[in-house]
Symmetry: C2
Subunit: 448 residues, 2 copies
């Protein structure tokens, strides 16, 4: 690292939307900035479900962090994991033994999946947080279809062709819609023994409507649009049990070999380690300028921070526009503090909210506009292309989408990555910890 | 499977170049064809090294097998692994318990990597045979560069920046050239503390020249072109030992944290299981019509078969044009046999041979033409685009290439896939079974 006595040091933990926005805003200043992330890529998470199910390559939605920041000579990137933050001594200890001193710290380590106290469900019902997760979900869905093509047991075939998505937020809605679209297309064209009408996609949500962050009218539109795709929506029911045979939900057993989890998030464990008061979901209750209480040199932003705007009753949601704007605000406040100016409270500019439902449907709230169906989907395409990191990615994703929209995209139906090295048959990745049901193998003998 | 008494059944094991060519040639006939492969995709192996190192996405070089064969209603695809071939009873037993009966069998299971009796080197020096291998190699090379950026220990930095490729065939030449190109580019642009001039790429070959399948003049051109890229070529030396600290080759220790293996292949274990005479490299010595001796209904093709053309002194090489033509010939002979016609001996039409060396260099032999440098590279691009499976792949690969040629392609520098779930730091995937060298971690403390 460039030795620069006197030049203040900024450490940014996490290169998600928040951390990256802060790093960019501090690029070209006379601060010495170090960005630490445990992955070498920044992920455009809103499109991750498309890597799993809807025709994008892993490389289309991600870009190496150091690539994004390469033009900022004062910004350094370290691929490493944070072990400990020493607030009194203003130091960050990394897994590889490196210690970084800071004058200002931005903690933007994001959120991880919460199984609501049932971590034993994680191997059975994977979540979708990074590229390896997306490839794992792709592997499971495609492997289930392959196994259904092989089996002669009608009951097992039904289990293999039933997909359950837990959680009716944007991710759950997107996953359910994409599975419905994908299975309809490829079963129709590429498979011989399985028909599209045999698949079943069930979306389960604890609340009494989908997309709680929207107003009820758009929630209802989402439910109707999912219905058009053949997705069964179960509202107001709680998942009681998940095992290799399926889920128990509201007293009913849904037999399924593929359960996906999109139900809850909790902040990175670093939040608890900072020792400050936290809200009900574990996020740190930050000061109005996003600083950690008692530490004006430490900013906590994005999914780790709980900030209730003046006059509002609930904290800002854990979505990328909030993280980006908080990152930019933290950078501005660091520059102000360095110039001995008082920091400014964070003000969120609400640009809206949107979610896709399959290939050509969506709901969107943009300012005062409310859109549904194809119009909302076109707005979604435009906004997401606009924000996608890096020109090449934007171009390739755009071409891929055009292509995927016109005809099915075979490249992204390859089973690779995710769980490694298993023969991709019935095992379906990490599953199958429990014994096969009796008669399972015998049913396969199709010698004639 | 469609029950069709009286319609002869063909089972094809393997959907590589040979098996796929046979399946396509049998599509639309009145035979009932079943293709079995343990992967769901056909791989365009000649471009696999580009997924590892040179800017292609995994999805660009692969296509689902059932997608390729979807228009042939008489061809079925099974994702499964072969456990046993019962020649007397004409049955194939699969891992999932399925048994397939056949009238004709095409065995095209290809080759796997041979470590020449040193299988313990496999975890240290990965090979490149499928997409997961390519992603693992990408992970290791990029992780080594990341670790070099972190370290303050000059000796460790040198080890991290030294890349050894074992094997001077086309794959080894391609890998070495691609590492040299990649590290030059991204170290120049994206890294702060590591300079391109600090990297070292060593290509080790046991024979006294590279690319033994070419004539010596082209081998020499290859050596010179690699030299222009900065690759050190060591000829006539044998690898004696590989461990976590590097390789021992011809009595000299080359300290390195990244060793790649491209030195040898051996046929699939199914070759030995067929019980027929085999050549020195383990391939089955087939009849002139590619049938298994004593079994006129069983064809063995591609990398598993050893066939010496009339008048030639050596068997045909294990390359894709041979496999493709053998697959087509096997299909023709099955149709002849079914019509009670005698089978015809296989005749190979030699289209030539080519290998790339980095971004804009190659050697090629096409008929009587011999090309080197940029001209050969352009010929290589043209031929490979032409043969790439599927129109979309062809278009996307072409766009990617244009892009990669004009400027560096960041998307394919993402560390995902390959070895799963490890924090991608110093561990570099599956390596580091041995303890760290002393002082290794202390060296990282860069607190100032």
């Amino acid at each position: 690292m460039a030795e620069a006595p006197g030049r203040p040091k900024v450490v940014i933990i996490g290169a998600g939307f928040g951390g990256l926005a802060a790093a960019k805003a501090l690029g070209g200043t006379d601060l010495v900035v170090t960005v630490v992330d445990r992955l070498n890529y920044h992920l455009f998470q809103p499109l991750l479900y498309q890597v799993a199910l809807a025709g994008l390559a892993a490389t289309d939605v991600a870009c190496p962090i150091r690539r994004i920041l390469r033009h900022h000579a004062n910004v350094e990137v370290l691929l490493d994991e944070v072990r400990q933050i020493d607030l009194p001594r203003r130091r960050v200890h990394l897994a590889d033994g490196i210690t970084l001193a800071y004058d200002y710290l931005i903690v933007a380590a994001g959120a991880e999946t919460s199984y609501f106290g049932h971590d034993e469900w994680a191997p059975i019902a994977p979540d979708i947080k990074d590229l390896d997760d997306a490839l794992e979900i792709r592997r499971r869905v495609l492997s289930a279809l392959e196994a259904a093509e092989r089996t002669d047991d009608p009951q097992e075939k039904r289990r293999l062709l039933t997909f359950v998505v837990v959680g009716g937020g944007p991710t759950g809605v997107e996953l359910a819609g994409a599975i419905a679209d994908l299975s309809a297309e490829i079963l129709h064209e590429d498979f011989r023994r399985v028909k599209p009408s045999e698949t079943r996609v069930v979306l389960v949500e604890m609340a009494d409507r989908l997309l709680l962050a929207f107003e009820p009218k758009l929630s209802e539109s989402t439910r109707l649009q999912l219905g058009e795709l053949g997705v069964e929506v179960r509202l107001g029911v709680r998942v009681e049990q998940i095992d290799d045979d399926g889920v128990l939900v509201g007293g009913e057993v849904i037999q399924s070999r593929t359960v996906l989890w999109a139900a809850g998030v909790r902040p990175s464990p670093l939040a608890a380690a900072l020792g400050a008061p936290r809200d009900r979901s574990g996020r740190i209750v930050v000061e109005p300028d996003c600083t950690l209480p008692g530490h004006r040199e430490v900013f906590v932003i994005g999914d780790m921070a709980s900030l209730t705007p003046a006059g509002a009753s609930v904290p800002l949601p854990g979505i990328s526009p909030v993280a980006i704007q908080e990152g930019q605000a933290a950078a501005r406040n660091i520059l102000r503090a360095k110039g001995s100016l008082p920091t400014e409270p964070f003000r969120y500019f609400d640009k809206g909210f949107m979610a896709t439902i399959g290939r050509a449907r969506a709901v969107a709230k943009l300012g005062r506009l409310r859109m549904t169906g194809l119009v909302a989907w076109l707005a979604w395409v435009f906004v997401h292309l606009w924000y996608l990191v890096g020109f090449r990615n934007r171009l390739v994703v755009f071409l891929n989408w055009i292509w995927a929209y016109l005809m099915a995209n075979p490249g992204a139906r390859i089973i690779a990555g995710g769980s490694p090295r298993r023969p991709p048959g019935m095992q379906g990745g990490k599953r199958r910890a429990t014994p096969e049901p009796p008669g399972y193998h015998q049913a396969f003998n199709r010698l004639k």
